[in-house]
């Protein structure tokens, strides 16, 4: 049941990526990214409910998700599909509605080996402000554990 841990890479001052291997064929992983019935089951924070408001799956098509928190607060995210290459690649933009104009580009790349799929998500920020703002935007849902992140970062640096 336990998956291999994710690998995080800093690609440049505006690009960061996360990679993980899944025990599933990539057609299925691709479906999880492109089926509006499936996306809400993994995309949102566990404590929240994700409602798909718009999902126009074609290049140039728009998507919009509403995230409802346990206390009833709602916030929305939107974007546009830029690239759809089944079953290997999806590129889309990401925008947090309360911070319009700060657009991140996320690319999901899938490679399959022996029935297992390696998924790499690369986030590309337009500017330093966007990079720093993205995570302040509604991503603060997780508990703020106070373990030593520096040690973890240094582990990351070794790879």
């Amino acid at each position: 049941m336990t998956e291999r841990p994710s690998t995080l890479k800093i690609l440049s001052d505006l690009e960061i990526s996360m990679t993980r291997e899944f025990d599933a064929p990539r057609e299925l992983v691709y479906r999880a990214f492109t089926d509006p019935e499936l996306v809400p089951q993994w995309w949102g924070l566990r404590a929240s409910t994700t409602i798909v408001d718009q999902f126009d799956l074609r290049v140039g098509g728009a998507w919009r998700f509403i995230q409802r928190m346990p206390d009833g607060t709602e916030f929305a995210f939107r974007g546009e599909f830029l690239e759809l290459v089944p079953p290997s690649k999806v590129t889309q933009t990401f925008e947090f509605e309360p911070m319009p104009g700060h657009i991140t580009q996320d690319t999901m790349e899938l490679t399959e080996t022996n029935g297992k799929t390696l998924l790499t998500v690369t986030s590309k920020f337009q500017s330093i402000e966007d990079r720093d703002g993205m995570l302040q935007s509604g991503m603060e849902g997780g508990a703020n554990e106070s373990y030593d992140r520096l040690a973890e970062l240094l582990e990351t640096l070794k790879s």
């Binding site: 800093i10 440049s12 001052d13 299925l28 499936l38 998924l119 995570l135 070794k158």
Partner: protein, 113 residues
């Protein structure tokens, strides 16, 4: 408070694999330029160049001892970058965990238990 500028400088410094390796080495304790150059197939001036970038970014300090100016890690700016990176990691780790669960569920559907 994390300033964008400091994060920017830190990220630029971290974007290079040699500099990351130097920082990882310094996390085990101070070292001289010669010691730092050892694992890399690199000239001392090349390593010195990377050290200058790291020093300018405030990620390391160099001792004043004339002979071997030891390099030391300055963890504070790194901690700020680590906090940022940690948030990103946590966001995608949670999504990946959920995705893994979903994929197992989807694959289990066709089978009889």
């Amino acid at each position: 408070m994390v300033t964008s500028h400091q994060l920017d400088v830190t990220f630029s410094a971290l974007a290079d694999p040699t500099r990351r390796a130097i920082l990882a080495r310094l996390s085990n304790g101070e070292a001289s330029v010669t010691e730092l150059a050892e694992p890399f197939q690199m000239s001392l001036p090349a390593v010195s160049k990377h050290l200058k970038v790291l020093e300018k970014a405030g990620l390391i300090t160099r001792g004043r001892e004339a002979q071997w100016r030891p390099c030391r890690l300055q963890p504070e700016p790194l901690r700020e970058a680590a906090d940022w990176i940690e948030q990103y990691r946590r966001l995608w780790d949670e999504r990946f965990d959920n995705l893994g669960e979903l994929l197992r569920k989807l694959q289990g559907q066709g089978e009889t238990k």
